[in-house]
């Protein structure tokens, strides 16, 4: 991977991390409401996976979807406006944090139902195949969704029809407060791929380059008409399930995983390999922080939706 690509990955990871940190502040101020699910700690997956995709490819996201949106190229201003309940938000403040849609950027929405996106990804993948557009669907979900029937139905049909879809399981070990041992009787979700006769990969989800390479290969396979791949990315979220529940996880486990934070680790590597200097890194960080200042200001200044428009958008 060339230096420009690596720098782009770092930039994407900063955008996701700083966006999430900013939303935490705004949540505490009461400007963002609802149940905010942060992606901090998992940035390498969205960044690596979406960087391997083309603009016209589709992303089916989850309730923890900000990272996927940002990595796919969503506008931070409109995302922030959506989270702050403004008319200028992606979904005119009808969707909120869990449901950011932008077909222009290939974002087919976050989903408030765990495992709810997997069957929808069948449809966008079929659509790409049907129209022979070459579009691939990246379907994100987490290990909690692996216990849903939709996981089986979707992988089974996608394998049967060789649909151009890449299943990306973000295994962060905890489904809300349920530890993976309560939901997964085997070690790896990725191993289930063999039950559908498709390739299954189990990778370090905190290594952005590994994610990129693995997803890139899966996308190529899908585009060539060879069907789906299941990729399990081992990772961890640094914060509780959402902003409104306490952290019930063992704190030594949290500390251990924070040491594997994908961002400092990638920074260190880029510095060691002289891909980037500290000054350049600082410049990117500053640029991203400025973008977030602008996004916040845009959202703060944007009007709230007019109550009279509440029915708009229901029917086509």
């Amino acid at each position: 991977m060339d230096g420009e690509k690596l720098t782009k990955l770092l930039d994407l990871m900063y955008r996701i991390r700083f966006f999430e940190e900013r939303t935490m502040v705004l949540f505490r101020e009461g400007l963002i409401v609802g149940a905010l699910h942060h992606y901090i700690g998992e940035e390498a997956i969205a960044a690596g996976a979406c960087a391997a995709a083309e603009k016209h490819d589709y992303v089916v996201s989850t309730h923890r979807g900000h990272g996927h949106c940002i990595a796919k190229g969503a506008d931070l201003k409109r995302m922030m406006a959506e989270l702050m309940g403004r008319e200028t938000g992606y979904s005119r403040a009808r969707g909120g944090s869990m449901h950011i849609f932008s077909v222009e950027e290939g974002l087919l929405g976050g989903n408030g139902i765990v495992g709810g996106g997997l069957p929808i990804a069948l449809g966008s993948a079929l659509s790409g195949q049907y129209r022979e557009s070459g579009q691939v669907t990246l379907c994100f979900f987490a290990e909690g969704a692996g216990a849903r029937g939709t996981f089986h139905e979707s992988l089974n049909l996608a394998a049967l029809w060789k649909l151009p879809v890449v299943y990306i399981c973000e295994n962060n070990l905890w489904a809300a407060t349920t530890y993976i041992n309560y939901s997964l009787p085997i070690e790896n979700i990725g191993d289930r791929a063999s039950a559908y006769g498709i390739p299954g990969k189990v990778i370090d989800g905190n290594d952005v380059e590994e994610v990129y390479k693995t997803v890139d290969e899966a996308i190529k396979r899908a585009r060539e008409g060879n069907g789906p791949t299941l990729i399990e990315c081992k990772t961890y979220r640094h914060y509780p399930h959402c902003m409104v529940i306490p952290d019930t996880r063992p704190q030594d486990e949290v500390m251990e995983w924070k040491k594997k934070d994908p961002i400092p680790r990638f920074e260190k590597r880029l510095l060691e390999e002289k891909v980037i200097t500290k000054t350049e890194m600082g410049k990117i960080k500053k640029k991203v922080k400025n973008m977030l200042d602008e996004a916040e200001e845009f959202a703060r200044k944007s009007p709230l939706p007019a109550v009279e428009t509440v029915e708009e958008g229901l029917w086509a």
Binding site: S91, P119, G313
Partner: protein, 322 residues
């Protein structure tokens, strides 16, 4: 004019719409070479091939999910749920996804999909194959709900459903599949939100849906010498043409709603609410609803019949109301 069955009408609607628009495709169980368990898709697989007529495993979530994702990205899927009872296996995709994604996207995406299913009782298939679940969908914002009762409406409404940019639940009744009618050649559509007066009268208004339209018409015929009965078929429950119903009630002063689904919290209750709110002063006596019993459908035909409105019961209730 020519004779056509309700089943044949549905088949024609699918064929014509698939010919008209290559983005229309079918997805469901047993719809390939077999042509669907009731034969609605007969000949379509041979004509359009596997790309357009997609037979799936028994995977309702996958069927509706595929339809949702495909609709969002430019196709016009028509999904078949073999029995409406099986929609319970994919209610997330119907209620949380298909019905809501357009609104949650701020109106950015379109959801042009049709979910067809047949329901109702009459074939002694008992509780898990005999339900009338329309009220669930009427109660879910974001879904259009269609219940054709005649051959003409079956074809015209299905074509309208396929061309609609919103999710449509299209509920057929399997006891109607073999009814025959004289219909025109060629194509026609029936608009949504337009009830039809199936029989004019002046003494009482009966609003009936699906199979019950026919039972209400039989009752009207039987009582024709003594009572003049107006039978209205809303045809689409969402959108509901309350104006036609109100106009009739203002003329007759009496309202009876007949549907096969359980009376409790059903569509009849909703129609009565709207009539009471908008035409209370015109009513001569309490409006009534004759629906199914609140009981899982029993197997024995004699019990099954006892759980749903029959002509005799309609006639009896009309006489009581006069």
């Amino acid at each position: 004019m020519r004779e056509l069955t309700y089943l044949g009408a549905l088949n024609e609607a699918l064929r014509e719409e698939m010919e008209r628009d290559e983005n229309v495709f079918l997805i469901g169980e047993d719809i390939g070479s077999f042509g669907g368990v009731f034969g609605v898709e007969k000949g379509l697989w041979e004509k359009f091939g596997e790309k357009r007529v997609r037979q799936t495993p028994i995977s309702e979530d996958a069927i509706v999910g595929t339809a949702v994702g495909a609709a969002m990205t430019g196709l016009r899927p028509v999904a078949e749920i073999m029995y409406i009872d099986f929609i319970t296996c994919c209610m997330d995709q119907v209620v949380n996804q298909a019905a809501k994604l357009r609104y949650m996207s701020g109106g950015k995406i379109k959801m042009p999909l049709v979910i067809r299913a047949q329901g109702g009782s009459g074939t002694a298939e008992a509780a898990q194959h005999s339900q009338s679940l329309e009220a669930w969908f009427v109660h879910t914002p974001g879904l259009k709900v269609v219940m054709p009762a005649t051959v003409y409406d079956a074809k015209g409404l299905l074509k309208t459903a396929i061309r609609d940019d919103n999710p449509v639940i299209f509920l057929e009744h399997r006891m109607l599949y073999n009814i025959k009618d004289n219909v025109p050649e060629g194509e026609w559509t029936v608009p949504f939100g337009k009830a039809e007066v199936k029989h004019e009268g002046k003494d009482i208004t009966i609003v009936a849906t699906s199979l019950m339209v026919h039972k209400a018409l039989e009752a009207a015929k039987e009582l024709a010498d003594s009572i003049s009965i107006e039978v209205i078929d809303p045809r689409t429950l969402v959108p509901l043409d309350i104006d036609t119903i109100l106009k009739s009630v203002k003329k007759t002063s009496k309202l009876l709603v007949v549907h096969e689904a359980p009376t409790i919290a059903g569509v009849g209750a909703e129609i009565v609410r709207q009539v009471v709110e908008n035409a209370f002063d015109y009513l001569d006596g309490a409006p009534r609803v004759l629906g199914g019993r609140s009981i899982p459908m029993p197997y024995a035909p004699i019990l099954e019949k006892a759980c749903t409105p029959q002509k005799e019961g309609i006639v009896k209730l009309i006489k009581e109301m006069m």
